[in-house]
Amino acid sequence: MTAVRFVFPKPRLAKLLKMPGGVPVAEALERAQANLDTIRPTCLAELQALLELTEARFEAMGQAFDDQQLADLYAVAVRGIGGGEVCKTPAVDLALTSLCDLLDHLRTARRYDREAIAVHVQAWRMLMAMGEQPGAAAVVDGLRKVSARYAAA
């Protein structure tokens, strides 16, 4: 039988958060958003660089399953998730998540679908330009349907 031991630590963080002073929630959130706005140009540049690297790696991929190539593509795409929200292109984060899902499913099932990957990479570039336009949601919806095909494969 596994012995179980419980400990009840008292995190200092709880006390610190309640210390006098501090920042009201509304003000803290405003400041955080303002801070994020300052890094938008660098995030955009980084997302663009990741997109170009992804396109280059995708072009170099062959017509058959290659686990290492899929892993390499995943390693680039996953680094971009989170940047879309800061760059006011939230659909990019969703598209990249769908691409990572797809690559993960393909690697798990040891399958390959070049077209499915291609549509994600092309959509990434398109969504970067679309920003928060209403059509972005439909694009993401389509991508999710593509990656979901391999979810249970």
Partner: protein, 192 residues
């Protein structure tokens, strides 16, 4: 856990030591901008597990925000190391795990590393603040059970499984309640 974004409640992160671990430039930049906006001033920015380990060995950490670091998943290993190899109080530090994407092969690793909560990227500042307030709550038990060391992950006490009660031939539960400080039993867990 929901927080009113217009709330006038105040939270003070000014004196909190916050360890940030993220191996991507963009991920770290976003995290830094969010936590400094929320009021944190003492940040340890770590881009490798080795850097984070050095910080955790030398400084008292009040909060750790650790990226899973896909595809390697080394962020999860760091959290497990914190739980099993760090001295008090850092072995009990509230840990928020961030993740861009968790490959199927890493789901169990992410679940069992000992983090308090996992936050999926992208995350808004309000989500991070809500999670910080949540992980700071007192009274959450820490569990030492076999390979798992970390916060009790149960959100609700739903009692025993439906149907039969405890079986008569079962051994009594071997659970011990221990106060966190001082805890002589943890001395062998000193960091190497």
């Amino acid at each position: 856990m929901a927080l009113d974004p217009a709330s006038r409640s105040r939270y003070n992160l000014e004196d909190a030591s916050v360890l940030l671990l993220d191996d991507t430039t963009m991920g770290m930049a976003i995290l830094v901008q969010i936590v400094t906006g929320l009021g944190a001033k003492k940040l340890y920015r770590c881009t490798t597990v080795e850097m984070a380990q050095q910080v955790a060995l030398k400084h008292e950490i009040d909060l750790a925000i650790v990226d899973g670091m896909a595809p390697s998943g080394m962020g999860y290993d760091f959290v497990k190391w914190m739980r099993t190899s760090c001295q008090e109080p850092n072995c009990y530090t509230p840990v928020i795990i961030t993740t861009a994407h968790t490959p199927a092969t890493d789901v169990v690793r992410a679940r069992d590393c000992g983090g308090h909560i996992i936050v999926k990227k992208p995350f808004a500042p309000i989500v991070m603040l809500e999670r910080i307030i949540w992980v700071a709550k007192e009274g959450r038990p820490f569990l030492f059970s076999g390979d798992y060391v970390g916060p009790d992950r149960r959100f609700r006490d739903e009692g025993p499984p439906g149907g039969a009660g405890r079986r008569r031939e079962d051994q009594p539960a071997n659970a011990v309640l221990v106060d966190a400080q001082p805890d002589a039993q943890l001395q062998p867990r000193l960091a190497s």
